[in-house]
């Protein structure tokens, strides 16, 4: 990340509370530059999805609220905007678990992503998605629920691109995908980034995520515990041990992993 250009998306000291009592984020600060991929890593329950929801304006739906902090897109605060306003401003979230609209056709899923655009622009973007993935064109009239998991994820990301976002928030796009599909989705993310769309990537699959990202943040129990350039994080011994699956003296055995988990359960 170059220090000279101001960041596209800036999150400052963000605190989020669910149901007025559960603190999910305890003041996180992060930045997404005008180009490139930023990874947000962390275990389950660290607050990764909460951070994305806060940025995209979907907290209300989960009875969550921002109690402190700022979210700015090129210097403009996003906080006064509702979810649809933030999409118009250029922030689009692709939800965890693909969330394809099963009953709608492949094409209608894309069209739903382009709601509120002119017919001309909408048509062009559907075409560009079809050009990217000819398979989607072949199946345009089929219910989108019939696509495979990997295809659904590709469709979900293309659907998120319909409004020409400036920053795309991806929530665990590799979850539950086959290794081949992981490769395809990673390829798509790389393309999107090359085309000038910034990406904030939330992942548990740290290996893939740090392979794509230029910068990374590690979140634990609602706080950023570590951040730095991706190559630096890849070399970090803690990240290697907890997120990349390496022990200090090489690969850990499955036997030991089980013991580690059991120990953790006792302690927590």
């Amino acid at each position: 990340m170059s220090a000279s250009s101001p960041p596209l998306l800036r999150v400052q000291n963000l605190q989020v509370v669910y149901h007025s009592v559960v603190r999910a984020l305890r003041g996180i600060t992060l930045e997404v530059p005008t180009r490139g991929v930023v990874a947000l890593l962390g275990p389950n329950g660290a607050g990764k999805s909460t951070a994305l929801r806060a940025i995209s304006g979907l907290l209300d739906l989960h009875d969550g609220a921002i109690t402190q902090g700022h979210i700015e897109l090129s210097g403009q605060s996003l906080l006064p905007l509702a979810a649809d306003g933030r999409v118009r401003a250029g922030v689009v979230q692709v939800l965890e678990g693909r969330r394809i609209l099963d009953a709608l056709s492949v094409e209608e899923n894309l069209l739903a992503g382009g709601f509120g655009m002119g017919p001309q622009a909408r048509r062009e973007l559907v075409e560009s998605a079809f050009t990217r993935f000819p398979l989607l064109r072949e199946r345009r009239r089929q219910p989108a629920g019939y696509l495979s998991g990997g295809e659904q994820q590709l469709l979900a990301i293309c659907r998120g691109l319909m409004r020409r976002p400036r920053v795309l928030l991806l929530d665990e796009p590799f979850l539950g995908l086959s290794p081949k599909a992981v490769g395809e989705v990673a390829e798509l993310i790389r393309h999107i980034s090359d085309e000038g769309v910034s990406v904030l990537l939330v992942e548990q699959n740290a290996k893939v995520a740090l392979g794509l990202a230029s910068h990374g943040y590690v979140l634990e129990t609602g706080k950023v515990v570590l951040d730095g350039p991706a190559e630096q994080l890849r070399e970090d011994p803690d990240v290697q041990e907890f997120y990349l699956g390496f022990g200090r003296e090489g690969q850990r055995g499955y036997h030991e992993l089980k013991r580690y988990r059991r120990k953790r359960r006792w302690l927590s």
Binding site: V94, R99, L101, D102, L104, A112
Partner: protein, 297 residues
């Protein structure tokens, strides 16, 4: 044979009005997951508004204004009252809509009085049309025709337009729709508008000769209720088809079954749709078309 055709057309005309009611009930259920028991009073309100507006406006314009006003009121109810109930137990919203229905009913009696009124029509209310050997009421043909136009138009709107895609996306998954920048709240309001508008149109046609407009017209909506269960709560098309079938069966059983049941059969046709509904609830509770979601295996 001639009698059958005659009954068939008036049955379909009745079914058409049921279809409009069932449609409104069903789209609201799909969009907000609640049973709107005030729906019948919206229908009643539409009929009364029409009797007043048709005095001052050309008939078709009055019909459009009635639909728009009733739809607007429905959208207002959703925004002001029911939106706050999102996430509350179904029971609460049912009681609330029942209460709203009572309020509306009282409001209608205060505004329009409790007298029975005739529904004004630009054609002679008793006019009959010769179809082969049989004669049918012109009103039946008009209501069948107008309803078909409305239903086809709505189907086109929902299936072919961006707004329709947004409506279906919002009713399938609100969070996804929000994440795509669809203003789910406004889409929901529009859904209620459509429900109110179609209820008003149904009320206008149900109030025509041989029936009339009185403050009990709202209860007719309950007659369309079996159609929703038989067609499947999730399926708007199913509810519409079932409404036509039940309207037809109601009229036919009145002519062919009631006479054979003696004193017991006096109002059998009115009970018949409920009997069908109970049969469905026992044998196939999801209805004919309900819940056939696509699932990936």
């Amino acid at each position: 044979m001639t009698q059958l055709l005659q009954l068939g057309i008036s049955g379909l005309a009745l079914g058409a009005s049921y279809a409009l009611i069932a449609l409104g009930f069903s789209v609201v259920y799909r969009a907000s997951r609640l049973f709107n028991f005030a729906h019948g009073e919206l229908l009643s309100l539409g009929a009364f508004l029409m009797t007043a507006l048709a005095q001052v406006l050309p008939w078709w314009l009055a019909l459009a204004a009635t639909a728009a006003l009733t739809g607007g009121l429905a959208a207002l109810l959703e925004r002001a009252v029911l939106r706050r109930m999102v996430g509350r137990p179904v029971f609460t919203t049912i009681i609330l809509t029942l209460f709203l229905g009572l309020l509306l009913r009282a409001g209608i009696v205060i505004a329009f009085g409790a007298d029975t009124r005739g529904m004004p029509t630009p054609w002679d209310a008793m006019a009959e049309v010769q179809l082969g050997d049989s004669t049918v009421l012109l009103s039946s043909l008009v209501s069948l025709g107008a309803t078909t136009v409305v239903l086809v138009g709505l189907h086109g709107l929902v299936q072919r337009t961006p707004l329709g895609v947004a409506m279906r996306a919002s009713s399938e998954n609100q969070e996804v729709a929000l994440s795509l920048g669809i203003p789910v709240g406004r889409v929901l309001g529009f859904t209620w508008f459509l429900a109110g508008a179609t209820a008003a149109v149904a009320g206008v046609f149900l109030g025509m000769f041989p029936r009339s407009v009185d403050s009990n017209l709202g209860y007719v909506a309950l007659r369309a209720f079996p159609a929703i269960i038989v067609g499947g709560l999730e399926s708007v098309v199913g509810a519409v088809v079932a409404a036509f079938v039940l309207g037809l069966l109601e009229v036919l059983s009145q002519a062919y079954v009631n006479p054979h049941l003696g004193a017991f059969g006096h109002n059998f046709h009115a009970v018949f749709p409920y009997a069908a509904m109970i049969l469905f609830l026992v044998l196939r509770p999801r209805g004919l078309w309900g819940e056939h979601e696509v699932r990936r295996v």
